[in-house]
């Protein structure tokens, strides 16, 4: 059964159940992925997945249910379950659907071609070949993946919204394993783009070099010292605490930014933007998970918290407009409030000047265990780290097996400099584009 047919069945069933406010959301994803280990085809996966989510408002409450089965029986069960769930809810905020006829941003999806099996196998083979000659310490345990995926999203509701959107992505993943005979280390990189247009040799070289640079790493000494977070480390840090910007979390007392709109929450060097159309992101978004138009907005302007992120319900409760940040990962995810690409505005210093300003401290490239070692509500963190010692204003020895501890909201205030170039280290939603950031007042715990 296709979506059109299923939509008709669900609509008829909803009307029969006397529902006046409802919405059907559908995603369908086709993807193919090839993975190669040491130049040999190891696995090939092709998938057709997706499903439909139905939401309805009954007695002011929003009930929902989803299914991957598209059949007459499934349509009936979907509507009835969503209604029962609505009747169980006790949340006080009013629920809303987006009104049809809104003006949407003039944005077009990035169109990557759907790649066939041969092109993907070739790309993974080329990537493995590039890894093989990338570094003198490279091993024969490297792997590469090539993938292509296309995601179609549709949203229709009883208020006249009828939207659809397609995102496509081609990407190559390179995993380098290096060894100096005593220990192994690995690193990987994901590059979005048509594989033939990517400089795989250059990507393999930098990935392998990054892994090799960490061989022989010692442990950082325990100290309170300045820390530079690389763009990749900032990506981990900011995504971990991004939930604090949700107005819904603030209302529930689950964000330290509750009631702070208009107040100084960061160093005046900090300007943080949420951008649904960030040029380097392969996932531009025209409408959000409720069907509201998306837009760019400054969350923090020179240290002042400008706005939190809102969906329709949180905006209504606060007497504001939605910021278009109702987010759905897929048909099976609840609607939550989330940013798209958070962009930390670059500063004025070159990387060399930033290191010189740091003088003596630690450069952190990798943060681990963010799901456990960080408390998104209080902002406290104590995280496994890897990077380099900074001595005499230069990166010197590699270090690992240490932690960096502090509080995210204090960290924002203690940013003393930013490098002059923002990077987007990983594609995704949410993503973070950030320069390297110098922070004072953190504790490094190692030997």
């Amino acid at each position: 059964m296709d979506f059109k047919e299923f939509k008709a069945l669900v609509t008829a069933r909803a009307e029969k159940a006397g529902l006046a406010d409802y919405e059907l959301y559908y995603t369908s994803q086709e993807s193919t992925e090839v993975s190669m280990f040491n130049g040999e085809l190891d696995s090939f996966t092709s998938s057709l997945t997706g499903g439909a989510a139905f939401r309805c408002i009954v007695d002011g409450h929003m009930g929902a249910a989803y299914t991957q089965e598209l059949s007459e029986e499934a349509a009936e069960s979907l509507v009835l379950r969503a209604r029962e769930n609505a009747l169980t809810l006790e949340k006080e905020e009013e629920a809303f659907f987006a009104e049809g006829g809104a003006e949407y941003p003039d944005v077009k999806p990035v169109e990557y071609p759907v790649l066939g099996a041969e092109a993907l196998i070739q790309a993974a083979q080329d990537a493995c070949g590039a890894l093989k000659t990338s570094h003198e310490k490279i091993t024969d345990r490297c792997s590469a993946e090539a993938l292509t995926e296309q995601t179609r999203t549709s949203l229709v509701n009883s208020h006249g919204a009828d939207l659809s959107w397609t995102n496509s992505v081609d990407a190559v993943v390179l995993s380098a394993v290096v060894s100096d005979g005593k220990e192994d280390n690995d690193d990987y990189d994901i590059k979005v783009g048509v594989p033939a247009s990517l400089d795989l040799k250059a990507i393999a070289k930098t990935t392998a070099a990054r892994a090799a640079d960490m061989l022989g790493a010692g442990v950082a000494p325990t100290a309170a010292c300045p820390v530079i977070f690389s763009p990749k480390a900032m990506y981990s840090m900011i995504t971990t605490f991004a939930s604090a910007f949700s107005a819904e979390n603030a209302r529930k007392g689950l964000s330290a930014l509750k009631g702070k709109e208009g107040e100084v929450i960061a160093s005046e060097l900090v300007t943080l933007l949420d951008d649904p159309f960030y040029p380097e992101s392969p996932y531009p978004q025209k409408f959000d998970g409720e069907g509201s138009p998306t837009r760019r907005k400054e969350l923090i302007s020179r240290g002042v918290l400008n706005t939190l992120l809102y969906d329709l319900s949180a905006a209504h409760a606060a007497g504001k407009e939605t910021t278009g940040n109702a987010f759905r990962q897929s048909y099976d995810s609840p609607v939550s409030i989330q940013p798209y690409t958070l962009v930390l505005a670059p500063g004025a210093l070159s990387e060399e000047a930033l290191l010189a300003k740091c003088g003596s401290g630690v450069w952190i490239d990798f943060l681990g265990g963010t799901h456990a070692g960080a408390n998104p509500i209080s902002g406290d963190f104590s995280l496994q780290s890897e990077g380099f010692l900074v001595e005499g204003g230069k990166k010197t020895r590699p270090v690992r097996s240490f932690t960096v501890s502090g509080n995210f909201f204090t960290l924002l205030k203690n940013i003393t400099a930013l490098s002059d170039k923002a990077e987007l280290p990983r594609p995704g939603l949410p993503a973070v584009a950030s320069p390297a950031v110098l922070v004072e007042g953190l504790t490094v715990s190692g030997s």
Binding site: Q68, E90, G373, N375, T403
Partner: protein
């Protein structure tokens, strides 16, 4: 779900280009969760996972195709896609499917997916009330009631045609307490079982779940920051076992061992852990959170000794990686759903009981940390670098447990840390978690009695 005849037809199409193994995994599951915030039902997630995956192997090459269209046409299209991707070749398998009945070692009395919302809400409300009632300093309580009813069917060219119904239930409460110096501290408790609603009669007291979350939050609200440094650490039983899960367990999974990407590759028969360490992966414990009747490739689960008195005895192996390793599969193949390629994963993985008394473990520490409750962690199996968070910690001085400390995490290299386990207690307890890796998020138990690690880096400030 899918008849044996249709399965045979699909497997034949999948193996048409010379596969030496073909398999269908079909699923129809109900996933349900209710969230409560401030004593009110705040959100409900209610869904059906429905689809099938066809896999074929030829030597060390594996192909999987998945679909949400499980009609005969949809499945055959999927099988042909898999066959084509394998390359050219002639059918080499004779397909005969025989019904296989596995013993059900995890009986379920009341399947939660057949129970109305109100019954679950009532239990959740009791749990959240338990947290609020514990102490006035509790400022916020969130809770969730989660149940999964997974119906699966596996058919393979090894002749298996078998189905299973896997039911699991979990309740979780997180409590926030106002800290003295401002801000809030969190406590949580989230027991689960491969059981139905009867879990709340026999095994789990909902109110006590709320109280435990609140107790932890209140203790931590009074705690100062943990000091940083290298020190001996006593790790409490139950979820403390996450240390073994991260520092060692993941590195014993065939998904990294088979590719030479684990620090323990090629170490069978060698001493890799402290002599007092004997560790198991046991998917057969009745109604335990990480248990299964058979794994996601139709191999019965078992109790494997991974490490015996410090010596590495076995790995956790799925069918595909067993080929690369030249070893038998161990009933360890798992996937979140049909949409994920299964691979070797843990079930209930724990350090067995030792001979040390808890008091003796604490008394042996002159200046160190007692990690009474642990949070989650992660590891890079290639380097063995791991981390995990201490949820409830206390300083230990001169053999006595002293003031609580917060914000601690433990980091190190797995192969070093398990060698440094030098005391093992007697109070083995399992605890439930969700483990994430390439084949998705799956329920696993960690566990241990109280142990002592003679030296580990404690991250604090």
């Amino acid at each position: 779900m899918i008849t044996r005849e249709l399965c045979a037809k699909v497997l034949e199409a999948a193996a048409a280009t010379g596969a030496d193994y073909a398999e269908i995994f079909a699923e129809n599951s109900k996933n349900h969760s209710i969230n409560m915030v401030s004593g009110k039902v705040d959100a409900i997630s209610d869904g059906v996972v429905f689809g099938a995956a066809v896999r074929v192997y030829k030597g060390l090459r594996s192909v999987m195709a998945t679909t949400v269209d499980v009609s005969e046409d949809g499945l055959l299209r999927c099988a042909k896609q898999a066959a084509q991707a394998l390359g050219e070749g002639k059918a080499a398998l004779d397909i005969v499917l025989r019904d296989r009945m596995f013993a059900n070692i995890h009986p379920i009395r009341t399947v939660p997916s057949s129970v109305p919302n109100r019954d679950k809400v009532e239990i959740l409300r009791t749990a959240c009330r338990g947290a609020y009632a514990y102490d006035k300093r509790i400022s916020q309580v969130t809770g969730s009631f989660l149940d999964v009813d997974q119906n699966i069917l596996i058919a393979s060219t090894e002749g298996i045609y078998a189905s299973d119904r896997r039911v699991r239930t979990r309740i979780a409460v997180t409590a926030l307490a106002e800290a003295k110096e401002g801000g809030t501290q969190t406590g949580s408790c989230s027991p689960g079982r491969r059981m139905g609603m009867e879990m709340f009669e026999k095994e789990v007291d909902a109110e006590a779940v709320g109280r435990e979350a609140a107790r932890q939050a209140v203790v931590m609200s009074e705690a100062g920051y943990c000091p940083a440094g290298v020190m001996p650490v006593a790790i409490g039983n139950g979820f403390g076992g996450v240390i073994f899960h991260e520092a060692c367990g993941h590195s014993l999974e065939a998904s990294s061992v088979a590719f030479g990407l684990s620090q323990f590759t090629g170490k069978l028969g060698q001493k890799i852990a402290g002599e007092k360490v004997t560790a198991y992966d046991d998917g057969t414990i009745p109604n335990a959170w990480g248990s299964l009747n058979f794994d996601d490739e139709g191999t019965p689960t078992r109790r494997s000794v991974l490490i015996e008195n410090g010596v590495l005895k076995n790995y956790m192996i799925d069918k595909f990686n067993s080929r690369r390793m030249g070893m038998d599969p161990t009933g360890s193949s798992r996937r979140e759903s049909f949409a994920y390629t299964p691979t070797s994963r843990m079930t209930n993985t724990f350090i067995g009981e030792g001979s040390d008394d808890n008091d003796a473990i604490i008394a042996s520490i002159d200046n160190g940390l007692y990690a009474a409750a642990m949070g989650g962690g992660s590891v890079n199996p290639t380097t063995g670098e791991f981390n995990f968070a201490v949820r409830e910690g206390y300083m230990v001085r001169k053999g006595k447990i002293c003031e609580p400390v917060r914000g601690a995490s433990l980091v190190g290299k797995g192969s070093d840390v398990i060698l440094n386990i030098d005391m093992v207690g007697k109070n083995l307890l399992l605890a439930e978690g969700m483990c994430g890796a390439s084949s998705g998020s799956i329920p696993t138990c960690v566990g241990q009695p109280m142990i002592r690690v003679s030296s580990i880096t404690v991250g604090g400030r």
